[in-house]
């Protein structure tokens, strides 16, 4: 192609390009002022209406269609003769099922068993006398069969039967139980949740050995079909709270639910609020403690976190090991934590208000130190503060994303070398650097990661308020912040409970109380025990 051809090619707007283009397939034009229209997608799943055929060929054909076995080799269809004479079909997902169990207890037992005379119900006979497996059930629903196969179970179809046998052959690779990475405790258990929900439930059950602890498994509502487990103490947890959690979970209808965080956002009411309305924890002991109190926990397959609901501000401020150490030390730690929160949220805004609007409130020594440190810095102090906070978040984010020791090195490099270099280069003043460092330290005192991020939001809000209105702006900002927290509810429980509204409580909510023998749950949970009093 010569030069002129190339020019002409680019000038020919009316001719179609040979380049691949992904085109819209919906009918009509999208509305001009609108977002994505939620349309009802018709159900095209053949499993919803189909019945199990007595001919296994027809069942096999449906399975091939549903699981696209022509291009998807993961689904294994194994034909065999049940009791040596009845054609049967075992269907399972390769990699999700335990091949040894299938070979030993389904194929071998199924082939070698002797068929007794006068058996009228073959499916029942197979379950009772042939397959030697502990978890086994029959079904006539194709949807259930589909979910079971995707779950790693094996479905067995027998000729002449309109029901199938589902056998628990789940056995897939998973991570072992390791120490909790983000919620470390010096004293106390070290175990953390894994991505396997079954393992997680076991970890909880090992601590909560109560007969009333139930775990309801159900679909998450995402099209990816992962399962969730709702754990609560039946007869202890408030029935309406459990119903509300189930109702919100049942309302989920989305493309995918990949993690507990997504699940939390899909179920909370105030999605615009920066504050989390459920507590995420990776510690079984913490989950167990909440369950014992009467909370509800939700586990998600593939997520090493439990979502605890409802939650209050004060429970978000509790660290796992608070109750494992002595009271005096616990009180001190709790006090330091709340002090850290105050510093983290208020200090930058307060400092900015003082320096910009209320210099008279600062002593001459402090004021002259600030002026001296900022003598060569070119940007306004508010911009400098915001820039350094941004840099701090950058270092933090980079340190978290980079694996292992390099992440720690980034923190040290960012904190020490970059800070020192910035001061030397007159890009930042040392006083602001100290303020930002204290702010960062304060935010790290908060045990909950989501709460740390929401505090960063509040900090920014108060910085802007202080920039505009000094202490008046901070007063108004703090009032709005408190109003928001006072208004917020987590699954029907006010966020500032047990302080406002005040509930009956023997232990202090702010500092750590004495560990005393008690049988009552938290008053704000209105557990079923309360109705007995």
């Amino acid at each position: 192609m010569n030069f002129f051809d190339a020019v002409i090619k680019h000038l020919n707007f009316d001719k179609g390009s040979a380049e691949f283009e992904l085109l819209e397939q919906e009918v009509g034009q999208p509305p001009y002022f609108s977002t994505w229209q939620e349309a009802e997608i018709p159900d095209t799943d053949p499993c919803t209406k189909a019945c199990i055929s007595p001919h296994i060929e027809e069942n096999l054909s449906l399975i091939r269609r549903v699981f696209r076995t022509d291009i998807n080799p993961d689904v294994i269809n194994r034909r065999f003769l049940f009791c040596g004479r009845i054609p049967a079909l075992a269907v399972f997902m390769n990699g999700m099922s335990d091949a040894k169990q299938i070979n030993d207890f389904i194929i071998r037992d199924g082939m070698h068993a002797a068929l007794a005379d006068g058996v009228s119900d073959l499916v029942r006979y197979a379950m009772d006398a042939v397959f030697t497996m502990n978890e086994i059930e029959e079904t006539s629903s194709w949807m259930q069969i589909k979910e079971a196969i995707l779950d790693g179970r094996t479905a067995v179809f027998l000729t002449g039967q309109t029901r199938a046998v589902l056998l628990d052959t789940r056995g897939y690779e998973k991570r072992g139980v390791e120490a909790a990475k983000n919620e470390k405790a010096v004293k106390g258990p070290q175990e953390g949740f894994t991505e396997s929900m079954r393992t997680n439930v076991t970890l909880i059950r090992r601590i909560v050995r109560c007969e009333d602890l139930v775990c309801e498994f159900r679909a998450s509502g995402g099209q990816n079909g992962v399962k969730i487990g709702i754990l609560y103490r039946e007869g202890i947890a408030n029935a309406s709270l459990v119903a509300e959690v189930k109702r919100r979970l049942a309302q989920i209808d989305t493309k995918q639910v990949m993690s507990a965080g997504t699940l939390q956002q899909l179920t909370e009411y105030h999605s615009l609020s920066p504050v989390p309305q459920a507590l995420s924890t990776e510690r079984p002991d913490r989950t167990a403690a909440f369950l014992m109190q009467g909370h509800v926990a939700v586990l998600l397959e593939g997520s090493p976190l439990a979502e605890i609901m409802p939650v209050t501000l004060f429970s978000l401020m509790e660290a796992p090991e608070d109750s494992y150490i002595r009271r005096s030390a616990g009180m001190l730690l709790r006090f330091v934590r709340y002090f850290g929160v105050c510093i983290s949220v208020l200090l930058p805004g307060y400092f900015l208000a003082m320096v910009l609007h209320h210099q008279g409130l600062l002593s001459t020594e402090i004021l002259s130190t600030v002026i001296a440190s900022r003598r060569m810095v070119f940007e306004p102090i508010a911009v400098e503060l915001l820039l350094l906070l941004l840099v701090f978040q950058l270092i933090r984010e980079a340190g978290m994303r980079v694996p292992g020791t390099i992440g720690q090195a980034i923190g040290i490099i960012g904190g020490l070398i970059l800070g020192q270099a910035a001061v030397s280069a007159n890009l930042a003043s040392s006083v602001i650097l100290i303020v930002v460092a204290l702010t960062g330290l304060g935010s790290f005192c908060v045990p909950d990661y989501s709460m740390q991020l929401s505090m960063a939001f509040y900090r920014l809000f108060l910085i802007f308020a202080a920039w505009m209105g000094g202490l008046l702006g901070i007063t108004c900002g703090v009032m709005l912040l408190i109003a928001h927290l006072a208004w917020l509810k987590s699954y029907g429980v006010p966020f500032l409970t047990p302080y406002a509204p005040r509930t009956k409580r023997k232990k202090p909510f702010f500092l750590r109380g004495k560990v005393t023998p008690h049988r009552r749950s938290e008053d704000y949970l209105n557990t079923s025990e309360d109705s007995l009093l």
Partner: protein, 367 residues
């Protein structure tokens, strides 16, 4: 009904009422009138709160007798629709005073002492989102905020009083009750115009505070707290300033801090205290507007109190904003007049409307 009353617990109700009484008792006194011939506010203000509580108890007795759900329905039973509407209008006006006086005073203080270069209306502009948003969030939020802020208010008061210890002088009490019983009675009466609406607010919100009996208990506790705090604070003010010094001072407690702490370097907390008190005064204003909007909604059988609340908030902010312009004189004089002499009309009106329900023979009661 979407009156957004919410559910207010006893502690929140106590905190709301106590904060309102304390803010009004300490910061809403009119110095030119209260300290005209001597300083006996540490007696007259607690007395005024006690009188308001007695009147509150009187109305509450009638409400219990008639099993009324709230104050307006009681007044309807007691004096008919017209009487109830008249009393409600009087209460609305008094509530407006409760909302206006402390906030406008703090805004003026801000303008005079803190943001000296700023325009008055720029300071008022900061109040708009705060008042609007908190009001919109409803009674539950306001009450929880009151419970949250109450300890800070008490701490800031205690800090201010303790830090003034070096300036305490007993001779400043002279002339002891020098303004005479007549003037004390006048101060008691005029302040009742502020304290009585604060107490009656509990009865307006009685469905939200779980009934009239709980409202009564909350009123009793709040009254006790407010009497103690106001008496101590005003007594300390009387120890630090004599009545002649106090006459031109709008916020004497703020000036105490300035007087005592001006040379203490890092401990210059005078302006910090004023911000905590200002938060309290904003909360009082929002609460007063909230009560007004609920009362208004009941008067006109509206299902939602928020439109009325929004309208009252706009009126309040507008009048505060106008308070420094050309209308300053009219507004200042009108408010002072209502504060000083309003009780001549207000108290008899409320008594006339409330009394029939209390004194009428039982067989005549209408439920």
């Amino acid at each position: 009904m979407r009156l957004r009353e919410g559910r207010i617990g006893t502690q929140e109700a106590v905190a709301l009422t106590a904060v309102m009484l304390c803010i009004l008792g300490v910061f809403a006194l009119e110095p030119g009138f209260s300290y005209a011939d001597g300083n006996s506010t540490f007696v007259s203000v607690p007395l005024s709160i006690t009188c308001s509580f007695l009147f509150f108890g009187f109305v509450r007795t009638g409400m219990v007798r008639y099993a009324s759900v709230d104050l307006f329905s009681y007044w309807e039973c007691s004096a008919g629709k017209i009487g109830a509407s008249l009393a409600s209008c009087g209460l609305l006006l008094a509530l407006f005073l409760c909302a206006y006086i402390p906030t406008s005073r703090f805004v003026t203080m801000m303008n005079v002492f803190v943001f000296t270069d700023a325009h008055y209306n720029n300071i008022v502009a900061y109040l708009i989102p705060v008042v609007g948003i908190i009001l919109f969030l409803g009674g539950e939020t306001i009450s929880r905020m009151a419970l949250f802020f109450a300890p800070f208010l008490v701490i800031s008061l205690v800090v201010a009083l303790v830090s003034a210890i070096p300036s305490y002088e007993l001779y400043r009490l002279y002339p002891l009750f020098g303004d005479g019983v007549g003037h004390i009675a006048e101060v008691v009466g005029s302040n009742t115009t502020l304290f009585l609406p604060a107490m009656l607010g509990l009865l307006v919100l009685s469905p939200a505070v779980h009934g009239v009996s709980r409202a009564g208990r909350a009123g009793l506790i709040a009254c006790g707290i407010a009497v103690f705090l106001c008496a101590v604070t005003l007594f300390v003010i009387a120890l630090v300033y004599d009545y002649k010094e106090l006459t031109p001072l709008q916020l004497p407690l703020y000036r105490i801090n300035m007087k005592v702490q001006q040379e203490q370097g890092l401990m210059r907390l005078d302006k910090l205290g004023v911000f905590v008190w200002m938060a309290g005064s904003i909360l009082v204003s929002v609460y007063a507007i909230h009560i007004s909007s609920i009362l208004y909604a009941r008067m006109f059988s509206q299902e939602d109190a928020r439109p009325a609340g929004a309208a009252f908030a706009v009126v309040l902010i507008s009048i505060i904003a106008l308070g420094q312009g050309k209308a300053h004189g009219i507004i200042f004089e009108s408010v002072n007049f209502l504060h000083r002499y309003g009780y001549y009309l207000f108290l008899p009106l409320l008594f006339l409307v409330s009394a029939p329900g209390v004194f009428r023979k039982k067989q005549e009661k209408i439920i």
